[in-house]
Every structure is written in structure tokens, then in C-alpha cells.
């Protein structure tokens, strides 16, 4: 019989998996709304402003107010939108973002419980599958909106995806070769001696740049370039459907930071007892998310041909070279 399900490294009871998934869900849906308000506050500080500080202590209740407002909005649908697909778009985006959370390792196996959703032997492929899957949501949603701006945004996101995903995969390939495994926990455990950011610094830079493009964040936010195409694929969306796109964007940012931490910054490793492992993971991830905000405050949006030529003419050769050199070094040593 052909085994269609991916091999799982550490088997656990089903009820435990359900509890773990609930905990991860609760954790992420506590972190992500805070990220939205923190982004606005940090961005404000970068511009000599305070940012939102009116609702609740330090303005931390702002996401609650935003969510309430979005939920209360009318479900408006453009007349020439393709109904079912139009509603499916935001769902797919959120689904693919949340699905990737399952493999983020918050810690090692402790007392028989792995501090992650599931440890599949093809972790990297799982991540790529779902991060590309989110573009189907954008593409379907943008196309089904029946608006030229949405369509342009959707096309841009598709073109952006294919130019950056290859270099992203190649950037991680160096780490995979050094660790000799696709499973995220083994990759973290392989960084006991030295974090992979040191030998794989070029890979890290390429991964981060491609990650910015993957999460369609500034300076690669061309799919939603508001100066040119209104809001890109989300132009026709309102209410919580628009909110879902926003939520997915932040989840994706968290996921990409989490993957970067896992592959290059030693994952959960840090000083202190093993209990602190998830804390270290989250602290490192938030630090990288802060870097996303920092870049957003610094760099302007690229022109479309610049985005393409950067992806194909700079990143891809650089990533290939990195993989080649790593391969030679791995074989020699």
C-alpha cells in the first residue's frame, strides 16, 4: 500500500494533538492582533509620532475596536464578482497561513510532549506548499472581484511568487544540506554548536528578502501598491473579509519570521532551562517581525521591473551560487 501521508517523526495521541493545536491557535490569535497595533505604534515612532494610544492601556485595545468595526460592516459584494470564489479567496489565505503554524517548532520534546503542532519529515516542503498556496487565495479573490485593480494586483502577486519562491527555496537548501534533514526539529537540533546564520549568512539575507516578497510587505508590496492600483487584490473587499486578508498578512509575516528563526537563528535555543524554549522562539520571531516593521519604515516600494530583475538577475544566481558552495563544502568536510 502506498503511504500517502507524510512520515511523522514523533507520534503522539490524537487528543494531545488537538490540545496542542488549540494552544497554538490561542497563542497566535493573541499575538497577531497585538502585532497589528505594535506595527502602527512602531511605525509611528519611526515617524516621530506616538501611533494609536487612545483605546485601552497604551492603545492595546485598538485591534479589538478594529475587529468589532470590521465585523459590524455590511457584506457588500460587487455586482460582477463571482460569488463563491469571491468568498473563498480570504478563507484560503487565512487557511494557508494558519496551516503553516502547525510545523513551527516552539520547543523540543519535553516530558513526551513535542512543543510543536506536528513534526513532519518534509517540514520544508510543507512550508513551501502552504506559503505558495496562499497565493491561490489572492489570485482567486482578486480575479473573482471583477475589478481591474483587483485583477492587476492578483496578477502581480502571482508573478512575484514565481520569481521569489525559487530563490527562497534555494536559500533554505543550503541549511537543509548542512543539517542533512528536512524536519524542522532536527534542523534546530543541528544548530547546537553554531547557528546557521554564521555559515549561511548569504542564505539568510536571500531568505529574508524573498520573505518580504512572499509576505508582500514593503518594499515588495506591489500586489497591494496603494499608490498605483488602489489596494490590489483586496480592493473590492470590505468588512471581515478584508480583515481576513490583513490577518493572513500578519500571520504570514509571523510564519516567515518563525521559519527564519528555525533555520538560521537556532530556533528555540537560548540560555536558561528548557522551559524557556518557547519564550526564546517567540522573542526571536518577534525581533524579526520588528525588522519587517523597520524595513517598512525605511524603504520605498520597488518599481515592477526592478522587482523582477532583482528576483531573477540577482537573487537567483546568488542563491544558486550559495547552494553550490555549500554543497562543495559539505562534500569536502
Amino acid at each position: 500500500m502506498v503511504d500517502l501521508v507524510a512520515e511523522v517523526n514523533y507520534f503522539q495521541a490524537t487528543w494531545l494533538l488537538i490540545v496542542k493545536s488549540l494552544i497554538i491557535f490561542a497563542l497566535i490569535f493573541a499575538i497577531v492582533p497585538v502585532l497589528t497595533v505594535v506595527e502602527r505604534k512602531v511605525l509611528g515612532r519611526f515617524q516621530h509620532r506616538y501611533g494609536p494610544n487612545r483605546i485601552g492601556p497604551f492603545g492595546l485595545m485598538q485591534p479589538l475596536a478594529d475587529a468589532l468595526k470590521l465585523i459590524g460592516k455590511e457584506h457588500y459584494r460587487p455586482a460582477n464578482a463571482v460569488g463563491l470564489l469571491w468568498a473563498l479567496g480570504p478563507m484560503l489565505v487565512v487557511f494557508s497561513g494558519v496551516a503553516t503554524l502547525a510545523i513551527l517548532p516552539f520547543g523540543d520534546v519535553e516530558d513526551g510532549i513535542g512543543l510543536y503542532g506536528i513534526d513532519v519529515s518534509i517540514g520544508v516542503l510543507y512550508f513551501f506548499a502552504f506559503s505558495s498556496f496562499s497565493f491561490y487565495g489572492l489570485l482567486i479573490g482578486g480575479w473573482a472581484s471583477g475589478s481591474k485593480y483587483s485583477f492587476l494586483g492578483a496578477m502581480r502577486s502571482a508573478a512575484q511568487l514565481i520569481s521569489y519562491e525559487i530563490s527562497m527555496a534555494l536559500a533554505l537548501l543550503g541549511v537543509v544540506m548542512m543539517a542533512g534533514s528536512l524536519s524542522l526539529t532536527s534542523i534546530v537540533n543541528a544548530q547546537n554548536e553554531i547557528w546557521y546564520i554564521v555559515p549561511q549568512v548569504i542564505g539568510f539575507i536571500i531568505f529574508m528578502v524573498a520573505g518580504f516578497a512572499e509576505a508582500s510587505r514593503v518594499p515588495f508590496d506591489l500586489p497591494e501598491a496603494d499608490a498605483e492600483i488602489v489596494a490590489g487584490y483586496q480592493t473590492e473587499y470590505g468588512g471581515m473579509r478584508f480583515g481576513s486578508f490583513m490577518l493572513a498578512e500578519y500571520i504570514e509575516m509571523f510564519v516567515i519570521s518563525g521559519i527564519a528563526v528555525t533555520f538560521f537563528l537556532g530556533g528555540w535555543q537560548g540560555p536558561g532551562p528548557p522551559v524557556l524554549d518557547p519564550v526564546w522562539f517567540i522573542v526571536k520571531t518577534i525581533a524579526l517581525v520588528f525588522f519587517f516593521f523597520w524595513i517598512r519604515a525605511t524603504l520605498p516600494r520597488l518599481r515592477y521591473d526592478q522587482l523582477m530583475s532583482l528576483g531573477w538577475k540577482v537573487m537567483l544566481p546568488l542563491a544558486t551560487l550559495n547552494v553550490l558552495v555549500t554543497a562543495i563544502l559539505v562534500v569536502v568536510t
Binding site: F46, Q47, H48, R49, Y50, W294, I295, A297, T298, L299
Partner: protein
Amino acid sequence: MSEEFPYLEDQSVVEVQRGPEPGGAGGAYRAFGETLRGLKTTFARIVEGPVTIQYPEEKTPVYPRFRGRHKLHRFEDTGLEKCVGCSLCAAACPADCIRVVAKENDPENRISAGERHAEIYEINLSRCIFCGYCEVACPFDAITMGHEYEMADYNRSDLIFTKEMLLAEPLERTPLRREGE
């Protein structure tokens, strides 16, 4: 030419400063060096801290000669009103927002220091343009422009300020600029 543009004294063409050419080492420098420089620039803004004045709680100080809401004055020693109802302010007002009705002073019960006093003195602040001509026209310094600028209201009729309102000491809620600020 050199007198007009002293900085062009010894060169007829100003050299344009250009960044490194794209590609190669220059391109790498542009991509990473300049990005790092940009990151440093933006982070310095965080270190400087916000410059926002949180308006309802904090207020921008006004200059001493700021022209805000009008004030009518009394003599400090006798307590009599300075206004003698001459209507010069009303005549000077370009927006025609001041109404003065004068009345003879009762010798038993004097209201102003002059022969007459203002029985009705109204300023329609919804028409006032805060030009300060009334202040200039007044021969007795009876009307001056104050520092108050928060005068929004829900009704137009509430913006017609009577003599009593103008004479009353306004709530001191506008900070004044300090020396050298």
C-alpha cells in the same frame, strides 16, 4: 556671474553627485550599504522620540500677541468698565460682527468711567475674523484680543457673546509661550 553666484567662482559647470553604477561591487554596495544607512537613519528617529503634542491634554503654547477670543476690561482700582460705548470698534470691524448700544451713565450708579457706557455689547464670534482691528480702534484699551481659541459650539446662537461673557475672566486654559520658545 561670479558675483551673483559666489559658489560658482572657479567652476562653470556644477558636478552632479551620482551614486555608484548598478551591477558589480557598486550594485552590492547600493543594495546593502545604502539599505543599512537607511535603516540607521530611520532608527535614529525612534531614539529622538515623538514630537507629537497630544492636543486635548497638551496644548501648543500661543505667542503673547496671538489674537484669540476678545476680552472686555475693567479698571483694576475702581472696577468700572473701560468701555464707554463709542462704537468705534463696531465701525472698524470689517466683518460687521460687533453691536454696541450706548446709554448715559447714571451718576448715582456709574457703570463706566466715561459719560456713557455700553448697555449692549455683543460680538458674533461666528462672523468674527480675528483681525484685531477692534483692539486697534479702541481709544480706551477696553477691548483686547485674548489667547483663547477653543470656541467650537453646537449652536450659532451660542456664539454670540454678550458683554457679561466678554467681561468675565476666561478660564485659563491656553498656555503662553515662554521667553525664547
